[in-house]
Amino acid sequence: MNSDVKGIADGGHGAAGAAGAGLGANAGYGAAGADLGANAGHGAAGAGLGANAGHGAARAGLGANAGHGAARAGLALASGAADASRRPPSFGAILWSFLKLAPLSFGGGYAIFPALEKEMVAGRQWMDGRTLAETLSLAAAAPGGVGVNAAFLIGYRLKGVPGAIAAGLGAIVPTSAAALALFLLYQRTGDTAKVRAALAGVTWGIATLILFAAFRIGRTAVRDKFTAGLMLAALVCLLAGLPPVYLIVGGTAIGLAAGWTKDRRRGAEPPASQPAGRTVGADSSYMYYI
């Protein structure tokens, strides 16, 4: 039985309930941490979401924290609980969350954003919307796939390095395993005409998905004539055979330079800046697979 107790005082009696139940009741003495659900007992330690009724109730992430005893401030905001606190979610819970989300990133990393919001903010209540939005902007700005970065960053915010590892594992391992498995299957089935034809068909399906991703990012990317021109210029360069690396470096440089010149001219924020929250908000409104 996985124990997430970590220094939380035992209620006196041996843990009757499972420690660290991901979902479900956790009733008993010394009940440690239900991620979702009731955590009724003495010395009840930390319910991620849900009731935490008991004596010495330590940390309810969200929800009632009716009991005696101190609660401790945690990572994110929680509305309602008197002493808002958040017991860091368990390694397994983070892993599982990201594992669940991985299949949704069919259209590319950006595709998970709405699902992430549903899961992290609404569902598990692990962080509030604004924190998530900031984290996602950061994820998009950093090199590497947005999906992977987002996983690491969110995981880190939730539980430091182990959290990042859990999130990363959940997001990456099943993917690579699945991709490899599919590929081996393809090699095994051989290059029959049917298989080739099916693959050709799927290519178009994937092309559509990718097109949609481009469309989505294009909507936020192209905000004025300059960005439109930039995109076209980049396309032309690509078609001409310029290695994409240069374009990325160039684009970043141009972006920073453009920002600075605008700043100097107006002495204000570059007009192109959008608050991080808006970008994500706009995103989730037009991408909802679930």
Partner: protein, 177 residues
């Protein structure tokens, strides 16, 4: 094998903007260096696209596998992911000190159009690649029709991508043989 690792490492560092932007870069290197033929690469992209999760991870794994077997797959993946990890860690440290909003936005301003272009380019390459070894006219029509139908399914009817993939596979098998 070391070259493989370095290659993916380098890729990892400049892979801004999401998995699809990576595809042209991976293609450029893998095909140019002769690790795989273009057709093989396209198939890898397709297979990687079919599997859940970020396409870059899947693609990296497959390319790694094709070059150096299972070890290659692991190496490629690590190389791809490591820079992310480092960069993310670095960013986290920086962010707490700077007025994060402004420079990230500026960065985005220039970078996003490039990323959009990269993604579009990826689609273009995918299409061209498929058409290259095809029969010509009929393929074009089929391709465009497929994109149109899939787009409608995706955007208008908000179907889950997996259905779109299944549909396109079946359609391909049905119409292209």
């Amino acid at each position: 094998m070391w070259t493989l690792f370095l290659f993916f490492l380098r890729l990892g560092f400049v892979s801004f903007g999401g998995g699809y932007a990576l595809i042209p870069m991976i293609e450029q290197e893998a095909v140019r260096r002769g690790w795989m033929t273009q057709e093989a690469f396209l198939n890898a992209v397709t297979v990687a696209g079919m599997s859940p999760g970020p396409i870059a991870a899947g693609l990296g794994t497959i390319v790694g596998y094709r070059t150096f077997g299972y070890a290659g797959a692991a190496v490629a993946l690590t190389g791809l992911v490591l820079p992310s990890v480092l960069a993310v860690a670095a960013l986290l440290l920086l962010v707490s000190r700077l007025r994060k909003q402004s420079w990230i936005d500026r960065l985005f301003y220039g970078l996003q159009p490039v990323v959009a272009a990269l993604i579009l380019f990826a689609v273009y390459r995918l299409g061209i690649g498929r058409l290259g070894d095809g029969a010509g006219g009929g393929q074009w029509l089929f391709g465009l029709a497929m994109i149109g139908i899939c787009w409608a399914m995706l955007v208008k009817y908000r179907m889950h991508p997996i259905f779109i993939l299944i549909f396109s596979a079946v359609a391909g098998a049905a119409f292209l043989t």
